[in-house]
């Protein structure tokens, strides 16, 4: 009897809890990789998210913001646990981050089930843009296919007739290689997928690419693997013989190690540090002021946008987080100054945006920097949006 009473009392307290507590602060959970060799990416995302909060005076709609950063350790199962912890025990209002498509795919169900709004700052698993799309999930990055599709278009412009594809064997790697094949008009003479993330020696794959003798090689290797791939590509004597085209292989987190190896290797990207809009100029300048010796990467730019997207939605609903429908409509407007230039959301909540060609150059100080060379494609929408049942 006493037990039942106690249980009933606890239940009452729990039920009364949310109603009694006024919304006094905004809690955001941020899942990324903060340990191991790819921690540089997670740190860049956290730095940029923090900078965005600084720019807002660390308040959204008059309420202080609290961010809980969680490390996924580069592992889907850990990412899922951390996501569940953020939702169930921290009771966050929003959840953001996610570098890796496989971590995102493992983590998305508890987010959608709990109707927590999620703003993905990088991972672009094609399923999340298509059949798994949700009213509660938004992205400030892209769907995986989009960037390599843009690269395929650029290779057509360059008159490339045949290509060999190399990438890692996980959700994003498979999406990326499929993406190039969507738009590339020439022949795909071969495709190699490598064990991810354990395999770091690409000698067997490079030998096969060389033997196939294509006009070009396309690769997708994010993080440290991109450094290793470029080094081995040069060591195999392929630099200057078979040109390399990339997506997400060269960025500000890998350039300090790639250096000369990255010169003259083109990449496609939706954001480059020198895009001439005011929001971007402020972001890049303040980032370099706040974190001396570091430059923001596209991972950071997307995280900065994620913070601003959340702020725009909360401000539009005047801080009322209980009306999910109004909040969703506010999110869909994307009414904020994106550092890539303003964009629209498609029906699947993936940006419809421009893709640029970027190249590596040495600046006046001898640092290696990325710069925009051309716009490959404007207002580009991903192919998965037709598979998403949302209107």
């Amino acid at each position: 009897m006493r037990k039942t009473l106690l249980a009933a009392g606890t239940a009452l307290l729990l039920a009364a809890g949310p109603a009694m507590a006024q919304q006094k602060s905004i809690k955001i959970g941020f899942v990324s990789t903060f340990s191991g060799p790819v921690a540089v990416i997670g740190n860049d995302m956290r730095n940029s998210f923090e900078l965005a909060l600084d720019h807002m005076g660390r308040k959204i709609a008059g309420m202080p913001v609290e961010v809980i950063y969680e490390d996924d350790g580069f592992k889907p199962e850990v990412g899922k646990q951390k996501t569940q912890k953020l939702i169930e025990s921290d009771k966050v209002d929003f959840i953001s981050g996610y570098i890796w498509s496989n971590v995102l795919l493992a983590s998305i169900k508890p987010v959608v089930d709990s109707k927590t709004f999620m703003v993905i700052a990088n991972a672009g698993a094609s399923q999340v843009a298509g059949e798994l799309c949700s009213p509660y999930v938004f992205s400030t990055s892209w769907q995986n296919d989009q960037t390599p599709e843009a690269m395929g278009l650029y290779m057509n412009q360059k008159g490339v007739k045949s290509v060999f594809l190399i990438g890692p064997n996980y959700a994003a790697g498979r999406d990326m290689l499929a993406g190039v094949s969507h738009t590339f008009k020439g022949k795909v003479v071969g495709q190699e997928l490598t064990t991810w993330p354990a395999q770091l020696d690409f000698s067997a794959e490079l030998a096969k690419a060389k033997a196939a003798n294509p006009d070009a090689i396309f690769v997708f290797y994010p993080g440290k693997a991109g450094v290793q791939f470029l080094a081995q590509y040069a060591q195999a004597g392929l630099k200057g013989k078979i040109p390399l085209y990339t997506a997400f292989t060269i960025d500000e987190t890998s350039l300090p190690l790639q250096k000369d190896l990255a010169l003259g290797v083109p990449g496609a990207q939706e954001w480059v540090n020198d895009l001439p809009n005011d929001a971007n100029k402020k972001f890049v300048a303040d980032y370099m002021k706040k974190y001396p010796g570091h430059r923001p990467s596209f991972y950071g730019a997307q995280s900065y946008d994620a913070a601003n997207l959340i702020a725009s939605a909360v401000t539009a609903t005047k801080g009322n987080l209980t009306d999910k429908e109004a909040l969703r409509k506010a999110f869909e407007k994307a009414d904020f100054k994106s550092v890539r230039g303003n964009f629209k959301f498609g029906n699947n909540h993936i940006p419809i945006q421009n893709f640029y060609l970027q190249d590596v150059v040495k600046d006046a100080k001898g640092d290696y920097v990325l710069k925009t060379v051309a716009t490959i494609v404007k207002d580009y929408q991903d192919a998965s949006h037709s598979k998403c049942p949302m209107k």
Binding site: E192, L193, A211, K224, Q228, Q232
Partner: protein
Amino acid sequence: MTLFIEQCLNGLQFGLLLFLLAAGLTLVFGIMDLVNLAHGSLYMIGAYFAATFAAWTDSFVLGAVLALLATLVVGMAVEVIAMRRLYGRDHLDHVLGTFGLILFFDEAVRLIWGPEGLSLPLPSWLNTAVTILPGMQYSAYRLSIIVVSLAVAVFLYVLVMRTRIGMLIRAGASNREMVGALGVNIKLLYTLVFGLGAALAGLAGLMQAPILTVQIGMGENILIVAFVITVIGGIGSVRGAFIAALLVGFVDTLGRSYLPDLLRLVLSPNAASTAAPALASMLIYLLMAIVLVVRPEGLFPASAK
């Protein structure tokens, strides 16, 4: 055909590199009866030293030589400071103690060099491909790894089979108590052997650095493969480690390069290219399982006790 030769060279290079790592591991295990999980940390230390010294001296070769000496010194220091406390204890204590060393080294590297990792750029004469057969080019750097590793293998053979120290090492592997009873300074021998093992691991690490970059925890994955090799080759046997390392190198590289094509014969192209990398990375463990079933002591057991 040239592709097959090139893949064989890739396998040979990978195998020889693994041999350097496994030789040190098997020596330490065979002679001191010590399970050293921190062997991968010495591999990492060698790579970090090489990247640092090469940047200071502006010379890849000089940096590599200095790094080799520095790793030898670190190895001997680790033996004197930490490993001595572990001899004669249970294997579980070894695992616990050397696992602690892994954490220590990882954190020490993070404090000294930072979390970002380093790169070790190659001089231009190594960063190209050379023609080794008519119509066939191969990476000059990978070729130089093959040459250096083979030279080290010959050096180890002479050292172990033809010198007095080698005789003591072999005797130590068969019966440690008897060697000690005969008045050999076992303490010094152990320090030397551990230092030698560390230097071999450091050499493997610094040679791998230009290919795989230098980062915290780089030794942990490859250490598992090195353990597989010591098990296949027979614990304590340098010759066994050599043969097993080459076997593993070939199986892994040729598996990765030909399995996708083989699977395509029976599976759809998409399923084949997804399944092949997963299967290929299992092959060496399959090899180990088969060897364990057929010859549980490994291919070349060092001592018939």
